[in-house]
Amino acid sequence: MRNILVTGAAGFIGSHLSEGLIRRGHQVIGLDNLSYGLLQNLSSVVGDPRFEFVHGDVRDSGLLLGLGSRADAIVHLAAYKIPRYGNALETLDVNAKGIENVLKISEKVGCQVLFASTSDIYGKNPNLPYGENSDFYMGSPQIQRWSYAISKMLGEHLCYLYSKERGVRMTILRYFGSYGPRQNLTWWGGPQSIFIDCALKKRPMPIHGDGLQRRSFTYIQDTTEGTLLALEREEAIGRTINIGNIEEISILELGKKIWKFVLGSEEPQIEFIPYRQFPGRYEDVRRRVPDVHLAKDLLGFIPRTSIDEGLIRTIEWQRGIVESLERVR
């Protein structure tokens, strides 16, 4: 049994991870400022003696020190994500200061750090698939879209520097598009979240650009499994590991698939939104596929859930949410 501090615990990944940790017999302190996380995500663990929820900000160093001193490891998931609609400054600030704070405290108290990074860090790199040593291709600073990836790039670099210069034991995980129950219901949660919502309401699904951009999506149970393994294996210390599914799908295919799972043979309704309609400038990434050999070799991690299976489970969950919201209305 270990004591694990999870930042961003009330978020999508954080809540699943908290459950997984408790199932494996660990003690969990879940920190979240509830800016994007929801307390209801934690309903299955709140009240469990092995779980403690703390409402607070990851940038609050006094608070974090108190919690960190009771932890064997900090899993740092708290982050801002989509600067597409403004908020570039918050994204940079929360993400950079959050990890810096976590690292400073882990240096002080000697606990391990697991930092959640992102596939977005590979940016526009045209050379696929992305191995952990692939280069990061960022765009112009005048395009806000890059502030998320850049904040994570700085975060990763800080992890390495604290590891080299201060002896912090850390692991970096680069997640590739997680989805599943409790995903955020806005664009923050990814396109599948919006598409399911539209299909359930029989509204046109908005697709950015031509929809031919391809992504690999990872079911939350797999993301959680990879994270738990990384936390438990000594071999993961000092390493950066891609956690993702190699199954690729275009955004357009994803939309059609979701529509079919929800509405059967009915003709899908799609609304294409050109990037130029986004505020400011935007740059999309055409394809994004991880090389997952390291996760397999180091952690024995293989994602198990196919996109069809994962989507069906996610749709079931989201249907429940939409129906209960309608009942409230």
Partner: protein, 322 residues
């Protein structure tokens, strides 16, 4: 009279800019902690009534806020550059925190910021030359070789985030390797400083890697001219500019050229230093060349001093300040 605040004001570039701004009728407030800057660099400005110098750290936000009451433009040059094993965290901290402080001051005082960045942000991008729109390509985040570039890329984003959120007018200047009188004589100042020092003593010249890497060198007076144009032209706020020169040179050839310009005969002995001796996982950039079209059209920036003339001026200064 307009007032400019320059951080890193006693550094190589900061001192030249201070001098030029005073000549143009500006009042200059210069801040430098003298960790790498040098008080002798500003000896000519210190006697001017239009010049104030403070030996302070750019991490001291309260102080920056206090002295910026009358400031019209903030030029942010204070930076750490070359991380070696052991001080990379300091590099990242000074660069990110320093820039954040400057932006906070600019937000409060409602003034524009000119941020001194580097063409190293283009990193390993294989497509040459680099225009301001080129991708910023960084190698493995585990290597301290990227500490400077990563922190500068972050700072550039932060600058525009402040512009977006608080309407702080921003200009980012990505400098090539700047050389000239008052430049540092160690690696911090670029290879040319070390080469001149060694050549003057007729000692072997140390070269990192094979010496076949190509770099862009720009003489300090040209850079200062570029910055003055940016300061004067209000209409170009919000733009990023490459400030370099057409002078591309192989590092090995630079060593040979310096060797003969100081008057030595024959060829220098070269002491090749493996990258692995610099830092673990060092990744070199083979060719770095910048596209100056934007600076030319929007600023009228045309570098005037060629590499030979510039090196002669620099060598003279090294001789006089040996």
């Amino acid at each position: 009279m307009k007032t400019a605040l320059i951080t890193g004001g006693a550094g190589f570039l900061g001192s030249h800019l201070s001098h030029a701004l005073i000549e143009k009728g500006f009042k200059v407030i210069s801040v430098d902690d003298l960790s790498h800057g040098n008080i002798e660099n500003i000896s000519d400005s210190l006697s001017s009534p239009c010049f104030e110098f403070y030996q302070r750290d750019v991490l001291d936000k309260k102080f920056l806020m206090e002295i910026s009451r009358e400031v019209d433009i903030l030029v942010h040059f204070a930076t750490y550059k070359i991380p070696r094993e052991g001080n990379s965290l300091k590099t990242v901290e000074v660069n990110t925190r320093g820039t954040e402080n400057v932006l906070e001051v600019a937000k409060e005082r409602k003034i524009s910021v000119i941020f001194g960045s580097t063409d190293d942000v283009y990193g390993k991008n294989p497509e040459l030359p680099f225009s301001e729109e080129s991708a910023l390509v960084v190698g493995n985040s585990s290597s301290i070789r990227w500490s400077d570039a990563i922190s500068k890329i972050y700072c550039e984003q932060l600058c525009f985030a402040y512009q977006e959120a608080y309407q702080v007018p921003i200009n980012i200047l990505r400098f090539s390797i700047i050389y000239g009188p008052r430049q540092r004589k160690d690696w911090w100042g670029g290879p040319q400083g070390v080469f001149i020092e060694r050549a003057l003593k007729r000692e072997p010249i140390p070269i990192h890697g094979d010496g076949l890497q190509v770099r862009n060198f720009v003489y300090v007076s040209d850079v200062v001219e570029g910055i003055l144009r940016v300061i004067e032209k209000e209409e170009i706020r919000g733009e990023v500019f490459n400030i370099g020169s057409p002078d591309q040179i192989r590092i090995l050839d630079l060593a040979y050229q310096i060797w003969s310009l100081v008057g030595n005969s024959g060829k220098p002995e070269i002491e090749f230093i493996a990258y692995s001796d610099l830092c673990k996982d060092y990744e070199d950039v083979r060719v770095r060349d910048v596209d100056l079209t934007k600076a030319k059209y929007l600023l009228g920036y045309t570098p005037k001093i060629g590499i030979e003339e510039g090196l002669r001026g620099t060598i003279d200064w090294f001789r006089r300040n040996g």
